[in-house]
C-alpha cells in the first residue's frame, strides 16, 4: 500500500492543456475518486499516474519516490480499464496469470495465487473460458481479478462500472467498496458519475477543464462546494444556481434576481456588500414549498411534476428563473398551480458573480484546494 503525491502535474497535447497544475496528496489506503465531465482531464491524470502518458511538467511520487520516468511495469500499480482490456486470446486463467508470469514467479506460486484470487471473486468456474464467452459482469470481475492477483501498491480504475447495466452497477459498487474496506488498498477511481464518487470514495477530486476544482471528502464537497462548477456537478437533482444581486431589505441582507429572493445566513452577512453580483445556490431539498405564502418567500408557477415514488420533483418558474424543488408524494400539486417557495437560509450557498468562487466567512475553515479561476 502506498501514498501518492501529485505536484503541479501538467499535461499538454500540442496546444491543448489537458491537465493544468494538478496537486493532490493521497494517503495510504485512501479511496479517491477523480470525477468530472468528459474531457476534464481525469483519465489523462490517471494515465500519467500509470505511466501510460508522459508528464509535461510537475512530479508524481508513489511512496515518496518520484516515478515520472518510470515505465508502467516498474511502478507496481494495477489498472482496471473501462473496456476491461482482457487479453482476448488468453483464457481467464491465463489472463490472471499474465502479470505474475511477467514477474517471473514460479509456476506453482502463480497457480496458487490465481486460484485464490478466482475464489475470492467467485470466478473459479470461469477459469477455462475465453473473455468473449463471459457476460459483462463476469468480464468485469476477471478484470478486477487481474488487478487483484498482483497485490500492487496502488489500484487505478478507469470507469470500471460504466459498461455494466444499472442493476449490476449498483451491485458492483457495493462490492468494490467492501473490497476496499477488506484490502485497505489505495485506490484511484475515475468516473463521470458523481453518485459513484459520492457513494464509494473517501475523498473526491472534482476536475473541470484540466483544473482541479476541489479535493475533499464527499461531505465537504456536497456541503461546501468551492465554486459554481462543483456545486452544479455534485448532487442529483443538481443544485439550483441563480444569478442575482445583494440587497438590503428591512435591515436584513438578501439576494434576489428575476422573481426570486432569499435572505442570507448570518455567517455570510459580513462577506458581501450591497448591489454585489452573486450566484446563489440552493439544493432542491432545502427549498420549503407551501400552498400558503411564506416568510421571506416568493411565489412560483409549477411547470412539471415528476414523481419518483419516494419523492416528487417539481420544476417551478419564478419570474424568469426555473427552480427544482422536492416535495413528498403526498403533497397535492398539478402543473400550472401557483406555489410559495422559500429558501432554507442556513443552507444557502453564495458564489461571487464574477469569479464564481464560493463566498465564505474568512475565519471559517479554509478551502481545501485553492482552485484557480473556474473556466
Amino acid at each position: 500500500m502506498a501514498t501518492i503525491e501529485l505536484r503541479n502535474v501538467t499535461k499538454e497535447f500540442g496546444e491543448v492543456r489537458a491537465v493544468d497544475h494538478v496537486t493532490l496528496d493521497i494517503a495510504d489506503g485512501e479511496f479517491v475518486a477523480l470525477v468530472g465531465p468528459s474531457g476534464c482531464g481525469k483519465t489523462t491524470t490517471l494515465n500519467m499516474l500509470a505511466g501510460l502518458e508522459e508528464v509535461t511538467s510537475g512530479t508524481i511520487s508513489i511512496d515518496g519516490r518520484v516515478v515520472n520516468d518510470l515505465d508502467p511495469k516498474d511502478r507496481d500499480i494495477a489498472m482496471v480499464f473501462q473496456n476491461y482490456a482482457l487479453y482476448p486470446n488468453k483464457s481467464v486463467y491465463e489472463n490472471l496469470a499474465f502479470p505474475l508470469k511477467m514477474k517471473k514467479m514460479p509456476k506453482a506460486d502463480i497457480d496458487r495465487r490465481v486460484r485464490e484470487t478466482a475464489e475470492t471473486l467467485g470466478i473459479t468456474p470461469l477459469l477455462g473460458r475465453r473473455p468473449r464467452e463471459l457476460s459483462g459482469g463476469q468480464q468485469q470481475r476477471v478484470a478486477l481479478g487481474r488487478a487483484l492477483v498482483r497485490d500492487p501498491k496502488v489500484f487505478l480504475m478507469d470507469e470500471p462500472l460504466s459498461n455494466l447495466d444499472a442493476k449490476l452497477r449498483v451491485q458492483m459498487r457495493t462490492e468494490l467498496k467492501r473490497f476496499h474496506q477488506d484490502l485497505g488498498a489505495t485506490i484511484i477511481y475515475v468516473t463521470h458519475d458523481q453518485l459513484e464518487a459520492m457513494t464509494m470514495a473517501d475523498k473526491i477530486a472534482v476536475m473541470s477543464g484540466g483544473i482541479l476544482q476541489q479535493f475533499a471528502t464527499p461531505d465537504e464537497i456536497f456541503n461546501r462546494p468551492n465554486n459554481v462548477f462543483v456545486a452544479s456537478f455534485i448532487g442529483s437533482p443538481s443544485m439550483n444556481l441563480m444569478r442575482g444581486t445583494i440587497q438590503d431589505t428591512s435591515g436584513r441582507l438578501e439576494a434576489s434576481g428575476g422573481g426570486w429572493r432569499g435572505s442570507l445566513p448570518d455567517r455570510l452577512a459580513g462577506e458581501v456588500s450591497r448591489s454585489q453580483d452573486v450566484v446563489l445556490g440552493i439544493r432542491p431539498s432545502h427549498i420549503r414549498v407551501s400552498h400558503e405564502p411564506l416568510e421571506e418567500g416568493f411565489s412560483a408557477q409549477v411547470l412539471t411534476v415528476e414523481p419518483t415514488g419516494d419523492l416528487t420533483y417539481l420544476t417551478c418558474r419564478a419570474g424568469s428563473t426555473d427552480l427544482i424543488t422536492i416535495v413528498s408524494p403526498e403533497f397535492r400539486v398539478a402543473p400550472s398551480d401557483v406555489l410559495h417557495l422559500a429558501f432554507d437560509r442556513n443552507h444557502v450557498h453564495l458564489f461571487d458573480g464574477t469569479t464564481e468562487q464560493a463566498i465564505r466567512p474568512a475565519i471559517g475553515a479554509p478551502a481545501t484546494v485553492a482552485a484557480s479561476a473556474w473556466r
Binding site: K73, M79, F81, Q82, A85, N89, M102
Partner: protein
Amino acid sequence: MSATTPTVRNRRRPWRRPENIVAVVFMTALLIYTVVPMLWMLSTSLKSQFAALQQPPQWIPEHLTFDQYRTLLSPYNDIGRDFLRYLVNSIWVSLASTVLGVAVAVPAAYAFSRFNFPGKNALFFSVLVRNMFPLVVFLIPLFILMRNLRLVDTHMSLIVTYLTFGLPLSIWLLKGFYDNIPPQLEQAARIDGATRFQAFWMIVMPLSSPGIIATAIYAFIQAWNEYVYALTFLNSDRLLTLPVGLQRFFAEYSTNWPGLMAASFIMSVPVVVLFLILQKHFVRALTEGAVKT
C-alpha cells in the same frame, strides 16, 4: 429486416426468393466463366499431344496420361531441369519479397495505427498513392534505377520491386487490423509488467496474426504471378521465374499443348491452395479494415 425473418414458405424454399434466384444464376455464370478454363487446362494436360488437337475436343480424355507431369517434374531431362529451375526461382523470389514485405509492413502499419507523428497523414497517403498507378508506369524508371544499381538480371531486382509493390496494400490491410485492437490491451500488458515491445509481441502479434497471414499470402500470390517486370529485368535463362519461363516454353515447344497446360497447372496449384487457406482471413482483413466496430 424482412429478409432476415423469412416467412414459413420462404424458409422452406429459400432459393425461391427472387433475389436468390438472381444470385444463383449470376454466381453460376461466374463460376463457369472462371472454372471452365481451369478444367480445360487440366483436361488438356492429361491428354496425349495427338488427342489435344483432336476435333471435336474431348472434355474427358479417353486415355489419361501423366507423361507431361512426369517430364516436367523430373530433373533428368532438359525440359524438367528448366522447369524445376523456374519453379525454384519463383518460390525464392516470391518468398523473399513476402518475408521482407511482412517484416516491413508490420512495424509500419503498427506505427501508422498507434503513433502520432508530424506528417503522418501525408506519409500514409503517399504510401497509398503508389496503388493508384498501373504497375507498368514504373517499368522504365525502375529499369533505369536497377541498371544504375547494377541489379538488372538479378533476383534482387525483382524482390525489391515486388516488395515495394506489395507494401501499400499490406500496410493498409494491417493498419486496419491494428486499428481494431484496442490500445488498452497493450496498456494493460505494460501495466502488468511487459515492456512496450513485449506488449506488442505477446499481445498484439497473436491477435493480428490472421491479418499477417492474409497479407503475406496476398503478397506471395502477387509476386508469384508477376510477369512484366520479370520479363524486363531478367535476361539469363537460369534466373527466369515461372511466368516468363512458361512463355519461353511456349515459344520453344509451341506444338506441345499438353506440356504447356501441365506446366500452367502446376504453377496455379500454389495460388489456389494458398487462396483456399486465405479466403476466410482475407475477407476478414478487408472488412475489419473498412468497418469500425
